[in-house]
Amino acid sequence: MVTSHTYMRVPALFSLLLWPDDSFAVGSIDSVVERQALNPTAITMFLVFVAVTLAISYWASRKTRSSKDFYTAGGGISGLQNGTAIAGDFMSAASFLGITGLVFLGGFDGLVLALGAFAAWPLMLFLLAKRVRNLGSITFVDVVSQRLERNPIRVVTVTGTIVVVILYLIAQMVGAGKLIELLFGLPYQVAVILVSVLVLTYVTFGGMLATTWVQIIKALLLIFGATVAAFLVMKEADFSINILLQGAAENHPRGEAILGSGVLFRDPVQIATIMVSMMFGTLGLPHILMRLFTVPNMREARKSVFYASLFMGYFYLVIIILGFGTIYLLYGKPEYFGSDGGLLGGNNMAAIHLSNAVGGSLLTGFMSAVSFATILAVVAGLTVSGAAAISHDIYAEVICKGNPDARTELALTRITTLGIGVIAIVLGIMFENENVAFIATMPMVVAASVNFPILFLSLFWPGLTTRGAIAGGVVGLVSSVVLIVVGPQVWVSVLGYEQALFPYDYPALFTLPLALAFTWFFSVSDRSARSIIDRRNYHDLLLRSEYGAKGKSLEVHL
């Protein structure tokens, strides 16, 4: 069933599965979406989820009184709650359906995505969590603008944020439409509108508090569902990992090769590009960084990253069982395959079919409902982040110079949220039949090449200046876009040329060092008056970055 052209299809498929969210589902765009029959169990479970989360939104709306409440839930989320919510952003449909589907296709090679999504979190804890939490207030842009010249650096970093959020949103909406069409049998446009309306209800009324609880509930449901599915898979294998792997190797057309590398990917540079994009892109995602401000202090911020790692680590270990479980239990069963020899609904449906194989329609319905819920949670997080970029970073901090009218800011925040919702619907419908694989690639590469280097260097390099940060940020952004356009996803898949000018889908391996090099050069050669302030600010903010408010008071005595 894995044919000779499978290897050729992998980059496109992979590009759609790369992200730790739901944009994988745009993979359906390249294939024909086989709409499933209405699944009453799935719909019932999803309606229960919607009812509970709407009740939470109502509760949260009564607690959301200011823009700070709206953006950061008033800083009142505990480390454990925040960690679960962060994990909810990552243990998504892409992880459950996408990575499981890739393992079904090629075994071990599919796991590189899981490692990439996970490995960023130790670095988040070591490098960013504490300092970002101590120096910022609502977005990561606050952190860099304390060190560097306020307006220009805000414009660059907010541009990076908006590019990431909008592109992410398009990929999410198109993915959501296709996935829901696939799982629930709803028409594409209805699915897109439904997702937007629900997300707008959560976010407009409940802000970050409602968003956080939606993510927590979804994360717990997904962990529960995946654990049950893994338990049932292991039961089929007499609770022996050897029997599971042996059965998988015997069933898969590539045999024992699936237990090692080389079935889907062979080029080490290609793997390196994936690994760099995943790791450093995650460290620059604005809606993830924003979660660090929802807890009351730096201790809780660090705890939340650790708890997130625990949940995700567990989940990705479970994915090994699910992935190889699909090979062990689905191959050789004709009811799961179409007349063309491919899996019904495509490889992304492997986990759903596995749920059916081990848990019947009840587990299938449950996992389908959780997959839908995960889209809502991720889109809600993106919407809050986009609203904060416009109403806080631009309106409050640049236009009002940090002194906005509180009521006006909150009103603008809600209007911005509605605007983002409308944009999401329009773009989702506009891009229905487009090949948006490159749109799923760009956010991670841009986050790795623009947001991460500026944030990291502003926290750890005394020599960074505004001029250097802007030069590096602009070069990172432009080079990311250009290399993706001349790469296989746009140059070949969209524009129809025979061969790409740049051979890799994910250019962060090249654009990140380029951004760092430009930042370094323009910083060390900067002799402007502002550069003196920028360099001095590093030392002035050092204690505060490490000790928070206490460090700030200590600065006075030094």
Binding site: K68, T72, G75, F108, L111, V112, A114, L115, F118, A119, W121, P122, L123, L125, F126, L127, K130, N134, S137, I138, I241, N242, L245, Q246, A249, L259, G260, S261, G262, F265, R266, D267, P268, I271, A272, M275, M279, P296, N297, M298, R299, E300, F306, S309, L310, G313, Y316, L317, I320, F460, L542, L543, E546, Y547, G548, A549, K550, G551, L554, L558
Partner: protein
């Protein structure tokens, strides 16, 4: 105090370097020098590659735990670390 900050910064960078080295060691799976990873471990069906994947996840979590233990000393109390947003 500044010396303590420098020590903490060194810790951060050393831990990060360890993570980066371990993470990119995964590339060995795709290099000729890492072909041995595709072999099964003894009589089991678990290959070196699969063991590496699971081992890295566990190792990363343990490193986070060690880091949290090392970094928790001489920290101001949680109340003192609140920032006036």
């Amino acid at each position: 105090m500044l010396r303590a900050v420098r020590r903490k910064t060194r810790h951060r960078l050393v831990f990060s370097l360890v993570i980066l080295v371990l993470y990119f060691a995964y590339l060995f799976n795709y290099l000729p020098s890492g072909e041995f990873l595709a072999q099964r471990l003894g009589t089991s069906w678990i290959t070196g590659s699969l063991a590496m994947f699971a081992g890295l996840i566990v190792m990363f979590i343990l490193l986070e735990l060690v880091f949290l233990c090392l970094d928790s000393d001489d920290e101001p109390d949680a109340k003192g670390s609140r920032l006036g947003h």
